[in-house]
């Protein structure tokens, strides 16, 4: 239910949110903060774009977005990668300094989580930048987009970061049931593509419905979006909740919507929209694709779509992602929004939960900081985490640490593992649901879970020889001192 609970933003966050209306605005803003570079050299689509993308993403703290505008064989075309590839870039989007610690970014997302006032503005299609150019005939995606192979053994050229809008085929007038999600798209013929979704996801569900009832399923593939869109389109919201509304709530600023020719809602300032229609019951050979667990998915039969029209801005930017063996932009893009709902769900029942870090490969590993209410309490919290919507499939390895251990600081987590883990006190739960593409599965979709309780022991547990913790100074005072030291370092003060 919508209420009027709007997020309260800092002055800086408000200014940033008001200024960024599109990918272009964000790239400009990143550039002003040395977080976006234009690659100066001419590049071949393969392997140059792949290699530069990986190099940009290797610096998880402050790796820049990279724009390519000299792609050999694609004169005048542009590609942007790594836009969400560093926490520095995410911090800037949230109106914070680019050196903000990940823990603070997490709590900023949590703070915005409770807002539920949709902020959506309507733009007449005649005035929407996305409709500056329209192609209805002779469509060739290989000509329109500077496509390239993301990983060397992918089955083709993928669009890896598009936000796909679709209406419920049985309730096409319902705005809330309109779904926006990121799905991998392999370009096939000049005007066909496959779109991979599983029946458990919203899009897969809509495909099943359309084919069962012989109804059309129309989609709009939005490429090069407002940076909040890919960040929040990947967050699981309820089936009848709008991802557009959610993204605007999290930004605390209006998103500009317009209408695609096929009737779906799209972002008015998006770089390109490919409108397509599901070819009922038709399948094409798809894959492999280097996926987020760092291995190639198999070759399978996947639903096929035909392009019905393309709209794009003048001089559009093809925004894409490098994904594969981690760490990659995929991990940064969705990590905080994977962690936040798990935290919010746990916090309702267990106020002792202090923070959740599920940044690792879509939450295949999660670290929960919690204050033990009584001995063994952390294990109960772990069980509850496995029962959250995301935990059901994804949370494979869970590490529980004390509430005063920062789960985003892996040195502290290693301290907890080193000094608190008892090898005979780890829990393995066999034959649980598992992400089908996790190579650690016993069979695809089924595998084992691991819980490591690395919290401090408390009575009636045997406390060991010397259980008294050193009270390490921490908190805002230490943070301020660290900041001061770093300024002294920069300024070279003697």
């Amino acid at each position: 239910m919508d209420t009027e609970k709007e997020v309260t933003l800092s002055a800086q966050a408000k200014a940033v949110a008001a200024r960024i209306g599109s990918l272009r605005d964000f790239l400009d803003y990143l550039g002003e903060h040395d977080q976006c570079v234009t690659w100066p050299d001419a590049v071949l689509p393969e392997p140059d774009i792949r290699n530069v993308s990986v190099a940009a993403g290797n610096n998880v703290s402050t790796g820049p977005a990279v724009i390519f505008d000299k792609i050999r064989g694609y004169p005048g075309k542009r590609v942007a990668v790594n836009v969400h590839g560093s926490f520095g870039n995410l911090a800037l989007l949230l109106g914070m300094p680019k050196t903000t610690p990940v823990r603070e970014l997490f709590f900023e997302i949590i703070r915005r989580w409770g807002s539920d006032k949709p902020l959506l503005a309507r733009v007449d299609p005649k005035n929407a930048p996305v409709h500056e150019n329209r192609i209805d005939h002779g469509i060739n995606l290989y000509d329109l987009l500077p496509l390239y192979r993301i990983n060397a053994h992918d089955g083709g050229f993928y669009i890896g970061k598009a936000c796909v809008v679709s209406r419920d085929p049985l309730d096409p007038d319902n705005f809330g049931k309109q779904n926006v999600g990121i799905y991998r798209i392999q370009v096939m013929g000049p005007d066909t593509f496959t779109l991979l979704s599983i029946p458990a996801h919203d899009m897969g569900r809509q495909m099943l419905m359309a084919e069962q009832h012989g109804k059309p399923l129309k989609v709009s593939v939005m490429i090069g979006n407002h940076p909040a869109m890919p960040m929040f389109a990947a967050t699981p919201v309820g089936y009848d909740e709008s991802e557009f509304a959610y993204a605007s709530q999290m930004m605390g600023a209006p998103l500009r919507l317009t209408t695609a020719v096929n009737g779906t809602d799209i972002l008015a300032d998006t770089e390109m929209v490919i409108e397509g229609e599901l070819q009922l019951n038709q399948r094409e050979v798809e894959g492999p694709f280097g996926e987020f667990p760092g291995s190639y998915s198999g070759v399978r039969k996947v639903p096929l779509f035909r392009v019905t029209g393309v709209s794009h801005r003048n001089n559009p930017i093809f925004e894409n992602i490098y994904i594969g063996k981690g760490w990659t932009e995929h991990d940064t893009l969705i990590g905080l929004n994977t962690s936040a709902p798990i935290y919010a769900q746990l916090k309702k029942d267990f106020p002792e939960v202090a923070a959740v870090n599920a940044l690792y490969q879509h939450g295949l590993t999660g670290i929960i900081a919690v204050k033990n209410r009584f001995s063994g309490f952390a294990k109960s919290v772990a069980m509850r985490a496995l029962g959250t919507p995301h935990g059901t499939m994804y949370l494979k390895n869970l590490i529980l640490v004390d509430e005063n251990v920062d789960p985003f600081d892996l040195n502290q987590v290693m301290w907890a593992l080193s000094t608190r883990t008892r090898a005979n006190d780890i829990i393995v739960i066999p034959n649980m649901p598992m992400v089908p593409i996790d190579p650690a599965a016993e069979v695809p979709g089924k595998g084992h879970r691991l819980i490591i309780d690395a919290t401090s022991f408390m009575a009636p547990d045997n406390l060991g020889a010397d259980p008294h913790l050193v009270d390490r100074p921490m908190g805002p005072e230490i943070d301020a001192l660290m900041q001061r030291l770093s300024e002294l370092q920069k300024g070279g003060v003697r």
Partner: protein
Amino acid sequence: MKTICPRCESTGVTQMHAGMENGQVLWRVWHCKDCAYTWRDSEPAESIDPKVRPAWAQMKGVDFDSLRQVVPPARKPT
């Protein structure tokens, strides 16, 4: 020499696009109608040379109808 698919070695391949530089063709993109592999002839050998590509990635002789369905179709396509 006739272009064949580097993955399944089919000859049923179609040119999708040609990239131009200074009025000359710099590369061509091909698509295989049998295994749906897409490639650019300027790519490194690991992607486009059947003699260099890993054995696991090759699909010569594979029955494409036997591949797993991710979303099973409701009916036979008309």
